[in-house]
């Protein structure tokens, strides 16, 4: 492989993190991405039921909103952890942060992040 030209954007620093540590961080993020995504769908259903069909009366209850809030905090913790370990830029962080509050986006983001991290840590190295 030829050396990167001067000014190449990202040094391959991610390798310096122990792959097992990285794999665990990825796994934590994936779990929380799914839990957050699922709860966000539940919260969306609750909001639709509450404001469109029940005239402001809670359907499942306010616990859905409260629980989603704290799950999102946990999700952000796993995002920050993974983002730090991979030494990604701010743009990706913004996408991952938003992925936790836009319905369905967390599933898409999880899929892409997993694919990318696996490609990076695969024995063949980064393409």
């Amino acid at each position: 492989m030829t050396r990167d030209a001067p000014g190449a954007a990202e040094p391959t620093t991610a390798r310096r993190v122990d792959p097992r540590t990285l794999a665990r961080a990825l796994q934590r993020y994936r779990v929380m991405a799914w839990v957050t995504g699922a709860f966000l769908l539940l919260l969306t259903a609750e909001m639709v039921a509450k404001y469109l069909f029940r005239g402001g009366e809670p359907w499942l209850g306010t616990w859905v909103a409260i629980t989603h809030g704290w799950i999102y905090v946990l999700y952000l913790l796993t995002v920050l952890d993974l983002w730090s370990k991979l030494r990604w830029g701010l743009g990706r962080l913004v996408v991952l942060v938003l992925a936790g509050v836009v319905p369905v986006l967390s599933f898409v983001a999880e899929h892409r992040v997993t694919a990318e991290v696996r490609a990076r840590t695969a024995p063949g190295g980064r393409p």
Partner: protein, 303 residues
């Protein structure tokens, strides 16, 4: 580390992070206040329920918006039921009997939605006792109605899903009170029971707002943490470049890059020193097959 942190790019990022953190903290404070207001309002409504009954017309005239100050008040009212306009309300685990009371006011006759009582779910018109005839004097609790559910004007309905004054105006006509009365006296005849007082004291909204407040403050902390991570990462990259006095290899030693010249960009620093590092054969086995700048061990490089 300090020099890295005070580069213009990182100072700008710090300003953004602090601005974000301040906004989040303010949002948290706002939620905390809302939490307090909600809790106070509920406590006040519960307290009002224990106050002596007052005349409805002095508390809330017809067609007047309901404020939190009147919800839960015990009021008395005199009027005549209009049984022909009676509706049944499917209120979840109960059926409410909703009958308009015709009340004479100084401005003419108006209708007050009155919930005469509640019975089991699915009860039909034949299952509920008829409304008393003639003039009645009622005591009950004022409750805020629900939002409209979308009944068309003049709709022929016998059952509704909520006590919504906006809907009722379409069915019964106006003028109409925007609150409804949950009768407590005279005690509703069996099988009807008086509407239980809604739970205004505990749980729900206050807890939710308090929870949101705490979360906003956590997010504020996250914003500052992200800034710190960005600086630490930039610092680490700079420190990796083999231009430290601590470097044992003389060929790697070169004058430090002047701060102002390199200010604002981290990458030029890294990339400028990369070829030099390759020439110095420092960490070449790592750098060569990874295609990036060499990465000496952190031990000597960090101050």
């Amino acid at each position: 580390m300090f020099r890295t942190a005070t580069r213009p790019r990182h100072l700008a990022l710090l300003a953004a992070a602090l601005g974000l953190a301040a906004t989040f903290a303010w949002l948290g404070d706002w939620q905390l206040q809302r939490s307090r207001v909600e809790a106070d309002a509920r406590a006040a409504q519960s307290q009002r329920a224990g106050q002596p009954a007052t005349d409805l017309l002095s508390v809330l005239p017809p067609a007047t918006p309901v404020t939190g100050a009147v919800v839960g008040r015990t009021v008395t009212v005199t009027g005549r039921y209009d049984p022909g306009e009676q509706l049944l309300v499917d209120a979840g685990d109960a059926t409410w009997v909703l009958t308009p009371l015709l009340v004479d006011t100084p401005d003419g006759r108006a209708r007050l939605p009155v919930v005469r009582g509640a019975t089991g779910p699915g009860a039909g018109p034949a299952d509920v006792p008829p409304a008393p005839t003639g003039t009645v004097r009622l005591t009950g609790r004022l409750e805020a109605g629900s939002a409209p559910t979308g009944l068309a004007p003049g709709a022929d309905v016998a059952r509704v899903d909520a006590v919504s004054p906006a809907d009722l105006a379409n069915v019964w006509g106006t003028p109409l009170w925007t609150a409804y009365l949950a009768v407590t006296e005279p005690v509703p005849p069996a099988p009807l029971v008086a509407l239980p007082e809604p739970d205004r004291g505990g749980g729900g909204l206050e807890l939710r707002n308090l929870s949101y407040a705490l979360q906003w403050w956590v997010f504020a902390g996250f914003a500052v943490f992200v800034w710190w991570r960005v600086v630490a990462e930039a610092h680490r990259r700079e420190a990796q470049a083999p231009r430290r006095d601590a470097e044992p290899d003389p060929s790697a030693r070169r004058p430090p890059v002047p701060g102002p010249g390199a200010a604002g960009e981290d990458d030029p620093v890294t990339s400028r020193t990369s070829p030099a590092a390759a020439g110095a054969d420092h960490g070449a086995e790592q750098g060569a097959d990874q295609g990036g700048p060499p990465q000496p061990s952190d031990a000597g490089a960090r101050p």
